[in-house]
């Protein structure tokens, strides 16, 4: 039981640190670099201590950090799906035309702009003379998700 409390404390502390950095300093520490750093520190601790209980806790904490990394962009950025659900909850039953009007009025203009900005800032897309190109990182991401789409036969509405 003691170890579970420790793990909960680590996870909660990580969440609080992220929240503090984001709200007070405007810095998003949710980066691949942080995940790798935590993994390296955890590996070092598990090798040094060689305790089974600590290893279990460190694996759990590392996976929590990865899940947090996946979850946070959905909270910081406004996705169209969540906006549609929000509008439907507020309006209960709604005609498609009305919903489309409300959607366009609410967020439509900023959605694509924001996503493009994020893609450029994270070096997934490069901008040369007003034209957009995929970087190597972007090509790997596309290849990875296209492979998942093919393997699991997913419909992507293209």
């Amino acid at each position: 039981m003691e170890q579970i409390i420790y793990l909960t404390t680590y996870c909660f502390t990580f969440f609080l640190i992220h929240l503090t950095f984001y709200r007070l300093l405007g810095i998003n520490i949710n980066k691949i670099f942080i995940i790798i750093l935590i993994f390296l520190i955890s590996s070092l601790i598990s090798v040094k201590t060689n305790s089974n209980e600590i290893i279990l806790n460190l694996i759990s904490f590392n996976l929590f950090v990865i899940c947090f990394y996946i979850l946070i962009p959905g909270i910081i950025n406004n996705g169209p799906a969540l906006v549609i659900i929000d509008l439907l909850i507020k309006n209960k039953i709604c005609s498609k035309q009305k919903l489309k009007f409300l959607f366009n009025k609410n967020v439509a203009s900023t959605i694509i702009k924001n996503r493009l900005k994020i893609n450029i800032e994270t070096n997934i897309v490069s901008k040369k003379k007003n034209r957009l190109f995929l970087s190597n990182k972007g090509k790997i991401i596309i290849y990875f998700f296209n492979t998942i789409t093919k393997i699991f036969k997913l419909k992507t509405y293209e």
């Binding site: 039981m1 929590f64 910081i76 549609i84 909850i89 998942i148 036969k153 997913l154 419909k155």
Partner: protein
Amino acid sequence: MNKLNFLIIISPFLFTLFYVLIFFVAQQLSNKKYLTKLIYFFIFVLLLVIFSIVKFYIFLNTQQIFYILFIFTCNSFIFINFIQIPISSLQVKLLRIISKNSGPSEKKINSKYTPSNIFEERIKTFINNGTIKKEKTMLKLRREKILAFYMFFKYLKTLYNVRF
């Protein structure tokens, strides 16, 4: 580390692998309603995990039980997101557009992928996965369970001071 401890460490990963495999087989048989499959197979494997824990209860302590459940849930969350991202992520969609058209301008992207397209796509996805019900021209939320996710996101957005 003895054999039992090693088995405990890898067991949630094996359960996740089983989850991935049954989803893969189900998708090969029919690729409709992927979200329903993702959710129901998760519940099915989770029940299997709980059954295994009950079966081997005498060999496990509280931390190990918690570990197995926690790691399986985290792994499943990651897998569900990997399936969801190529379908609904706007960032990935924009990358696809850039990859298909060699060096498009921002203006061209905006004209190709308009807010109206985004709206139609999302509504189509929602109707296909059963989140929204279409009655003639009216749209209605079908699953009350979606409210739990909505409240969770709304609460976190408030904490992070992000407005809709």
